[in-house]
């Protein structure tokens, strides 16, 4: 028994060596700090003898640090918002990123294609603060471009930052605008890597461009699509703080459609700065993601082992 596992180890020696550097990194930079998550269960108070002694001497409060996430009627709203936005981002993001990648590959002029690609990548560089300023310059009641436009058509100026019903569309649009270019790069690279002989064979069979895309390109991308989607599912309880805080300018009247778990936690802990509670919130978000990933990975594994995460 022991010799068998030793043999197995020896056979995999070289591959284990390849894994080693990053594995050590994971231990140091991910797994060790994870032990600090125990803060989520204490009322963290500083102790003059450093971090460990602080944890040790802090009061154990069980699950009390988690309570604020579930206590009020807001709990439902923030959970609903976080999940629904993420679902929209996952589905629309996937469709658009793949579509854009296919489109860029098919454009005949390489130079133009590259230019478009660079252009679509640009929004990724703008921070949410900057994006927030642009959205404001576009939507602001007095000077905003959009209200100037609508006033031409004789419509009343709208106070966009007081109208929650438009924000789901605005936020989804902005998210896609910012990230689709970035995400499409992965698909673009994947299309480039598809075995050329597959297309040749298809052409010999007389398949047109559309058929090639449907029967070769997309199936070849499923593996990447599945993996990226699985990873996104793992973060479904996390929201991009900047998008939901900077872009709506923290306008209270919009909370019903813009408050998400991350903004709720930020606002709630801004003054008290309780480490225990912020750690608890993160742990909760991670835990839900973990359960979802395990479940969906299990399902994916049943269908196609190659597309599973592990």
């Amino acid at each position: 028994m022991l010799s068998r596992s030793f043999k197995r180890f020896r056979q995999n020696k070289m591959l284990l060596l390849m894994v080693l550097p990053a594995a050590i990194w994971f231990v140091l930079f991910s797994y060790l700090p994870m032990a600090g998550s125990v803060i989520a269960f204490v009322e963290y108070r500083y102790d003059s003898n450093g971090f460990l002694s602080s944890i040790w001497n802090s009061k154990w409060v069980g699950l009390r640090n988690f309570e604020f996430l579930f206590q009020t009627s807001d709990a439902l709203i923030i959970t609903r918002n976080t999940v629904l936005y993420n679902l929209a981002f996952i589905v629309l993001g996937l469709v658009l990123a793949v579509a854009l990648a296919v489109l860029l590959v098919e454009i005949r002029n390489r130079r133009m294609s590259k230019t478009y690609q660079t252009a679509m990548f640009m929004p990724y560089f703008l921070s949410w603060v900057i994006v927030g300023y642009f959205v404001f310059s576009f939507l602001s009641t007095s000077k905003g471009l959009l209200n100037q436009l609508t006033s031409w058509f004789g419509l009343d100026a709208l106070n966009w930052y007081a109208e929650p019903k438009y924000w789901p569309f605005i936020l989804v649009f902005i998210y896609l605008w910012k990230f689709v270019g970035y995400n499409s790069i992965m698909y673009l690279a994947a299309i480039m890597g598809i075995d050329g002989s597959l297309y040749e064979a298809a052409m010999i069979d007389g398949a047109g461009k559309w058929k090639q895309i449907v029967h070769i390109t997309l199936p070849q991308l499923t593996s990447l699509m599945t993996i990226l989607t699985l990873l996104a599912v793992g973060r479904i309880f996390y929201a991009d703080f900047g998008l939901f805080y900077q872009v709506p300018r923290d306008s209270g009247l919009l909370y019903s459609t813009t408050n998400v778990i991350d903004t709720y936690v930020y606002r709630g802990l801004k003054t008290s700065g309780e480490f225990g509670m912020s750690t608890a919130a993160g742990l909760y978000q991670s835990f839900v993601g973990f359960v979802l990933v395990i479940t969906s990975n299990y399902i994916v594994r049943k269908i196609n082992k190659d597309n599973a995460l592990f």
Partner: protein, 506 residues
Amino acid sequence: MFKNKRMLAVGLTAMLGGTLALSGCSSNNNANNASNQPAPAEESSNANAPAAETKNEPVELIWYTIGTPQKDTDKVMAEVSKYTADKIGVTVKMTQLDWGDYSDKMKVLTASGTPMDILFTSSWAFDYVQNARKGAFLAIDDLLKSEGQGIQGVLDPAFLEGSKVEGHNYGIPANKELPALEVWRFNKTLVDKHGLDTSNVFSLESLEPLLKTIKEQEPDVVPFALNKDYMPVVPYDYLISNLPMAVKLDTTVYKVVNILDTPEMKQALKTMRAYYKAGYVSPEAATITSLDDVQKAGKWFIDRAATTPFADNQWSASLGYPVVSTPASESVVFNWSVMGSMQAISANSKHPEEAMKFLNLVNTDPVLRNMIDSGIEGTHYKMAGDNRMENLPDSKNYDMPTFSLGNVMLTFLNPGDPDNKWDEYKSFNGAGKPAPTLGFNFDASSVTNELAAIQNVKGEFWAALMTGTVDPDEYLPKAIEKFNAAGLDKIIAEAQKQLDAWRASK
């Protein structure tokens, strides 16, 4: 179940601890052997290691303070150290963290137990009360008596009284403006142009005729400039700034109330709503964070600010056009105004006595105070009179925020400052009436969940109500209801209990 979790915690902690110990750092983290074991080889090179000290060598103090890092800080601190090594046997290493980073970084540094001796804290950056409660600072009651008599001599007693947390002092307030006095600021150009009289202005309502004139005659100007942090002045003392728990200023019964439920606030919100509807307030008021653009362009008429002696001059200088002001509130000494700028001794300081000696000297010795503030004479500044200095070109390499570093009344006057500047400060400070809860600081640790919830409710309604963006008749009841659902009642009850206990103990 409970027990298992405790075990889990022990396990995880042990895991983290084990590895830290392996690296030879445990002496930093483990109290029991820090003092009586020789420092490990790795640390003996470190000048701070207590083992390396002998009696005659000066002690190095690590000082973290707020402000944009300056090029010449190390150079000036070398001079400072020469002076202090002579006088009290300490040297100083100062690290400045920029305004926007200070709170976040200090939070990590203190939580992780990074060695330091002195650190800046205040009511608006790296919150003093919260961090004192969490144990970031050393209680200095005894040290103040033994090493800090000088400080007690120069500070108005209200400073030390108002910065007590649970009856203990954890930091030394800088001697500067003590009370909070709100003023209406006017764009003087417009005041003069329309021949307006600002002398009778005091209440929010009294602004109406002025605002009306400006609205009618200056269509480009925002008559009443305010941003999302604006709150009408009401005669109440907030237990936590900007949260609705408050006590009336002239109270005798010390009853904690929800500020939104008070007649004064209701009246103020109604007025704000009327102003908003009349177009005196920018329609974006509830979403803008700074008034920078209208003020740069001079396109505003009235706003509100907290004042200090001669503030009008400074405001006019920094805006580039004249600004005048008239009071908008009584002059009151609040807990938060007392805590406007403080230096504390870190709980993990290895040299608390020396740190206190140093702070005592900073707050009483003009030579040291001015060196820290203005740098080296002949390099960064030159004297231009008995108590007056002038900046030299190199002062751009050492430009410090004076108020953050200790007693401002020891500092040299700048060109243009009136001779009686500090006398004015003293009379300004003398005029402030103590707030009813001066010295009482609410301990929110038993209601942290409720506090988190009401913070979100506040975010939802506050700015919209305060700026008049929404109709208080409709939204005020909604807000009150939601605040109560989030647990404001419970917080108020807890605050009342603590306040009563505090009064009984006085």
